[in-house]
C-alpha cells in the first residue's frame, strides 16, 4: 500500500539527500514533484495545494541546522506535514456506559461495508467484546446472506429480517440488548451521497439506533470524489471516522488522506487484505513513515506481539544471540511468522526494502513456506540439531520424504548455514553485521536497505532493547558497513532524517537520532 507514493518520494528525496545546499529552484522542483506524486496518489487537489503551500512556507527561510543537511530538513518537513495530513492519533474506542456500543457503517456501493462489518466484529471479539451484527442492507441481492456467511466464520450472531432497513436496525438493536451483546454493528446498503431518498433513510437509521460510532467506509482506490462523498455523508450523519478498505492494492490511499483534512475526521480502521483478520486500527504516524519509505516497523512489531508466543520468541532470541539456533528453532519461528499472515505481507512491512526486493517478495507464497517446512519435518530430530550430519543419502531421503528434490534440500541447508553466520553477526557485530549478512544471503538482488531505514531500525531496536538488555549492542553505531551484501562498499552514512519527526508516540526519539557520518 502506498508504494507508488513511496517510490516517488524516494526518487525525489533521494536526489535531495545528496545535496548539500538547496536553492530556491530546487525547492520548487521538489514541490512540483511532490504535487504530482500526491495527485497521482489521488490526494484531493485542494488538499494538495494546502500541503504544498505549507511545505513551501517552511522550506523558504529554512533555519540551517548543523545536524541535518537542507535536503534532510525538507524530508523531515514533508514527513511532519504528511503525518499531520494523515491525522493525529490512533482512534481509541470508548465503550458506551450502557451497552451495547452501537457502530453504524455507511458508504457508497462496493466500498466494502459488509466485509468491513464482519472484520470489525472480529476485531471487537478480539478485544474481548461480544458483538452482534445487524444486516440492514436489504437493497443489494444477497447482501444479508453474505453477512451471515462471514459472521458464521467468526461465530458472531447476525440479525436481519425482510422488513425495511430502519425497522431492521431498530429491531436489531433491541435484539442485541435482549441477548446482552455489548457491541452492535449495523451494516447498511451502499448509497450515493446525492441520492436524497436513501440519504434520508440512513439518517433515520442513525436516528433510531443513535450510534456511538458512525464510520464511513471508503475504498482506498477512490479518486478525487472521495472528499465530496465524505462531506455529504458527514453532513447527514456526523461521522466519527473513516474505515479505509482495500489498502492491500498498489498505489492509492491518497483520497482517504484528504478526507481527514477536509472533513476533520480520522481514519479509524484500515483493511489490508481479503482475510477477515486483515483489519486493524489505522496508525497515521506510521503511515506517513511508510509514505516516506520507512516501512511500517511498528505495525509489524504490534502484529508480532499479538501473534507471537512471548516465551518462544524470547527463547529463540536467546538461542540466536548465543549462536545455537537450530533448524528446530527455525521451524518454530516459521510457524509463528506464518500466523502473522502471508510472508509477503509481513515482508512489505519491513522498512526500506528496494523495489527488486518487493518484486522478489511477491514470488514468496505460502506453498514455498510449506516446502521449507516439509523439508525440515522430513529430517530426524538429530539432523535438525546438527545439519552437518546430513550426507548424500540422507539428503535423498529427506527430499523424497518432503516431495522435493535434493537441490531444494541443498538450497535450504545452504541458506540456513548463511543464517547461522548471520546469527553470529547478531551476537558479535550487532544489527549492522547481521543486516550485512542478510544482504549477502539475498545475493545481488537482495535488500538494499536505505540508510534512513537502518537509522529507523536502529531507533526501533533502541526502543526495543532496554539499556543493558541483550539487544543493546544493536544501537549506537554511526556507520553501518557491509550493507547490501557488499562488504567494504560501505554505504555507511546512516542519517537520522527521521529523528524527532513524528509527533510523540512510541518511537523513542531520543535515541533514534544517529549523527550523520560523512565519508
Amino acid at each position: 500500500m502506498f508504494e507508488r507514493l513511496t517510490d516517488r518520494f524516494e526518487g525525489i528525496l533521494g536526489r535531495l539527500r545528496n545535496r548539500g545546499r538547496l536553492t530556491e529552484a530546487d525547492i520548487e522542483d521538489v514541490l512540483r514533484e511532490i504535487r504530482t506524486a500526491l495527485l497521482e496518489a489521488d490526494v484531493e487537489i485542494g488538499v494538495v495545494r494546502t500541503f504544498v503551500g505549507a511545505v513551501r512556507e517552511r522550506c523558504v527561510g529554512l533555519e540551517l541546522s548543523r545536524a541535518l543537511s537542507p535536503g534532510q530538513q525538507v524530508v523531515k518537513i514533508v514527513n511532519e506535514e504528511l503525518t499531520g495530513l494523515l491525522g493525529g492519533e490512533t482512534l481509541r474506542i470508548t465503550y458506551a456506559s450502557r451497552p451495547p456500543t452501537v457502530v453504524l457503517l455507511a458508504g457508497l456501493q462496493g466500498s466494502g461495508k459488509t466485509t468491513a462489518a464482519a472484520k470489525l466484529a472480529r476485531w471487537f471479539k478480539q478485544q474481548g467484546r461480544n458483538p452482534m451484527l445487524v444486516g440492514a442492507d436489504l437493497q443489494r441481492p444477497a447482501a444479508v446472506e453474505q453477512l451471515r456467511v462471514l459472521a458464521g466464520q467468526i461465530g458472531v450472531t447476525v440479525f436481519s429480517e425482510a422488513t425495511d432497513p430502519v425497522a431492521v436496525a431498530q429491531a436489531g438493536l433491541a435484539e442485541a440488548r435482549r441477548l446482552g451483546r455489548d457491541v452492535c454493528i449495523v451494516d447498511t446498503a451502499g448509497r450515493l451521497a446525492i441520492d436524497a431518498e436513501l440519504m434520508e433513510e440512513v439518517r433515520r437509521i442513525a436516528e433510531v439506533v443513535s450510534p456511538d460510532y458512525t464510520f464511513l467506509v471508503i475504498d482506498a482506490m477512490t479518486g478525487q470524489d472521495a472528499v465530496a462523498t465524505a462531506t455529504a455523508f458527514h453532513q447527514t450523519l456526523a461521522l466519527d471516522g473513516v474505515i479505509l478498505t482495500k489498502l492491500d492494492g498498489d498505489a492509492r490511499g491518497g483520497a482517504a488522506l484528504s478526507v481527514k483534512e477536509v472533513v476533520g475526521r480520522p481514519i479509524a480502521f484500515a483493511s489490508t487484505g481479503e482475510r477477515l483478520e486483515d483489519f486493524d486500527l489505522f496508525h497515521p504516524d506510521r503511515m506517513a513513515d511508510r509514505i516516506l519509505g520507512m516501512g511500517d516497523v511498528l505495525s509489524l512489531i504490534e502484529q508480532a506481539e499479538r501473534t507471537f508466543d512471548e516465551g518462544t520468541a524470547a527463547k529463540a532470541a536467546a538461542a540466536m544471540l548465543e549462536g545455537r539456533f537450530t533448524l528446530e528453532d527455525f521451524l518454530e519461528q516459521l510457524q509463528q511468522v506464518k500466523r502473522m499472515g502471508p510472508l509477503s505481507g509481513v515482508l512489505s512491512m519491513l522498512p526500506g526494502l528496494s523495489k527488486d526486493m518487493k518484486q522478489a517478495s511477491s514470488m514468496v507464497d505460502d506453498r514455498q513456506v510449506g516446502q521449507v517446512e516439509a523439508i525440515i519435518r522430513s529430517m530426524t530430530p538429530a539432523e535438525r540439531l546438527d545439519p552437518a550430519t546430513i550426507d548424500g543419502s540422507r539428503r535423498l531421503r529427506i527430499a523424497n520424504g518432503s516431495g522435493t528434490t535434493t537441490a531444494d534440500v541443498n538450497a535450504l541447508l545452504k541458506q540456513f548455514r548463511e543464517m547461522q553466520k548471520l546469527m553470529k553477526g547478531f551476537s558479535k557485530g550487532g544489527l549492522a553485521g547481521a543486516m550485512g549478512g542478510l544482504g549477502g544471503m539475498f545475493g545481488r538482488g537482495g535488500p538494499k536497505l536505505s540508510p534512513t531505514a537502518l537509522a529507523e531500525l536502529q531507533s526501533t531496536s533502541d526502543l526495543a532493547g532496554a539499556p543493558g538488555g541483550p539487544l543493546a549492542g544493536l544501537t549506537g553505531m554511526g556507520g553501518l558497513p557491509g550493507m547490501g551484501g557488499a562488504p567494504g562498499s560501505g554505504r555507511g552514512s546512516a542519517r537520522a532524517t527521521k529523528g524527532g519527526s513524528s509527533k510523540g508516540g512510541r518511537k523513542g526519539k531520543g535515541g533514534g537520532r544517529v549523527t550523520p557520518k560523512s565519508r
Partner: protein, 399 residues
C-alpha cells in the same frame, strides 16, 4: 535466472522470520522489563488467535489453491432454466443528462469562470487543469491535453475561452470515440464456426473488488434476454460469500439459466460447466462472473488467466472480456486496466456508478494509454440502468 530467483525466495523464507524474530524478541524483552501491562496474555494467544487464523487460513488455501481443472462437472449445480418472469421488463434507457443532472455543476464553476474571463491567461490554464484533475483524468493525460491546446493557442488557432473549451471538448470526444466501442454480437462464435450450433460465445466480467461486476452482469443478462438472446450465467465468483446467490437473483430476474459451483470451488470449472451447458442447450452466450481481485495479487491474476484459457476451449470462445471500473476510481484505474489487459486481453471497459458525483475521468487516461474503449456505462441500480457509452454525452457530463 530461475535458480537465482529461487535462491532469493528461499532466502526470503528463511530470512524474514529471522528479522521478525529479531525485532519481535526485542519488544518481548522490553515488555518483560516493563511488566505485563502491555504484553498480550499468553492464554489468549494460544487459544483465540490460532483458531481464527486457521479458519481464515482454510479459506485462504481454498482460494489460492491451484487445483487442476476437473474435466467432468463436479459439484457444480445447474439451476434449470427458470420460467422467465411473465415478461422481462427493460425500462427505457436512461439518458446521461437525466441521470447526471443532479451531479452536474461541480466542474461547471471552473469552466464558467474560464468562459467569463474573456481572455486566455494563466488562470484559465489553472482552472482547466483543476477541472480535469478533479474529474480524475489524471496529471499525465491532463498535461498532454493542455500542452496540445497551449500549442494551438500560441499558433493562433484558438483565440478566446469559448473556442478553447470547444477545442478541449472536441479533443476529449475524439480521444474516447473509437469504432471498437460496440459489443461483439452474441452468437458470433457460432457464425465463425460455420454455423456449428455447439459453438458458444463467452463474455468474462473482470475487475477489482466492489466495482459492480455481478450487478453489471445481471444487467447485461437482462438486456440480452430481452433482445431474444439466450444466455447462460456462470457464477464464477466462488470466493465472495453469497456472490452466487446475488447472481441467482439476477438470473431469475432476467430469465437466464445459471450454473453454480460450490463456494470456494474452482471458478474455471464453473465456467467450463456453463460452457458445456450452453453448448448442449444451443445458447448464444455464456456470461461469466469472476471474483473481484486486486490487480497486484499475482496468484489471483494467474487464476483469472486460467479462467480465460478454459473459457476459450471449444466449444467456448471468449469474444468479450469486460473490465468493470467504478467511476469513483482514481488514478489506480490505469494500473488496473494495464494489468488486466496484459493478463486476459481485455476488450472493453464498463464504467459503473456514473450516476454519482464522480466523473469517471480515468477512462480518458485508460483510452489514451492503453487504447481500451469504454463500451458500457452503468447509471443506477435498476436492471435497465446500463447503456451504451456515448463519448459526446460523457464529455458533456464531465463539463
Amino acid at each position: 535466472m530461475v535458480a537465482a530467483a529461487h535462491d532469493v525466495v528461499v532466502g526470503l523464507v528463511v530470512g524474514i522470520p529471522v528479522l521478525v524474530v529479531a525485532v519481535g524478541a526485542g519488544v518481548a524483552l522490553r515488555f518483560r522489563g516493563r511488566g505485563p501491562a502491555s504484553a498480550v496474555p499468553p492464554g489468549e494467544v494460544a487459544s483465540d488467535v490460532p483458531t481464527d487464523v486457521e479458519l481464515a487460513a482454510g479459506a485462504e488455501v481454498a482460494r489460492r489453491a491451484e487445483a487442476p481443472v476437473p474435466e467432468a462437472p463436479s459439484g457444480t449445480e445447474v439451476t434449470g432454466a427458470p420460467e422467465p418472469e411473465a415478461r422481462v421488463e427493460v425500462p427505457e434507457a436512461p439518458t446521461y443528462r437525466g441521470r447526471l443532472g443532479k451531479a452536474r455543476g461541480l466542474l461547471a464553476g471552473y469552466l464558467g469562470a474560464v468562459r467569463s474571463r474573456g481572455k486566455i491567461d494563466a488562470t484559465t490554464w489553472d482552472d482547466l487543469e483543476e477541472a480535469l484533475i478533479r474529474a480524475d483524468v489524471g496529471v499525465g493525460a491532463t498535461d498532454a491535453l493542455l500542452d496540445d491546446l497551449r500549442t494551438r493557442v500560441r499558433a493562433g488557432e484558438i483565440g478566446d475561452p469559448d473556442a478553447l473549451l470547444d477545442a478541449l471538448r472536441g479533443d476529449l470526444v475524439a480521444a474516447l470515440d473509437t469504432p471498437r466501442r460496440d459489443l461483439t454480437p452474441p452468437g458470433s462464435a457460432r457464425a465463425a464456426g460455420d454455423g456449428d450450433s455447439r459453438h458458444v460465445d463467452v463474455w468474462l466480467f473482470v475487475g477489482v473488488n466492489g466495482v459492480g461486476k455481478t450487478t453489471t452482469l445481471g444487467k447485461v443478462a437482462t438486456r440480452l434476454t430481452a433482445g431474444g438472446t439466450t444466455a447462460v450465467l456462470a457464477a464464477g465468483d466462488t470466493f465472495r460469500a453469497a456472490a452466487g446467490e446475488q447472481l441467482a437473483l439476477w438470473a431469475s430476474r432476467s430469465g437466464a439459466e445459471i450454473v453454480r459451483g460450490a463456494e470456494g470451488g474452482d471458478p474455471s470449472s464453473v465456467v467450463y460447466d456453463a460452457v458445456q451447458r450452453a453448448a448442449a442447450r444451443g445458447a448464444d452466450v455464456v456470461l461469466a462472473d469472476t471474483a473481484g481481485r486486486l490487480h497486484n495479487k499475482a496468484n489471483l491474476i494467474e487464476e483469472l488467466k486460467k479462467i480465460r484459457r478454459v473459457s476459450d476451449r471449444p466449444p467456448g470462445k471468449v469474444t468479450e472480456v469486460l473490465l468493470v471500473i467504478d467511476a469513483t476510481t482514481g488514478q489506480n484505474g490505469l494500473a488496473q486496466a494495464a494489468v488486466f489487459t496484459e493478463a486476459v486481453d481485455v476488450t472493453g471497459v464498463v464504467l459503473t456508478k456514473l450516476d454519482g458525483t464522480a466523473k469517471g475521468g480515468i477512462v480518458v487516461a485508460i483510452q489514451r494509454e492503453l487504447g481500451l474503449p469504454v463500451k458500457l456505462v452503468g447509471l443506477g441500480e435498476g436492471p435497465g440502468d446500463l447503456v451504451d457509452f456515448d463519448p459526446g454525452s460523457f464529455v458533456d457530463a464531465l463539463f
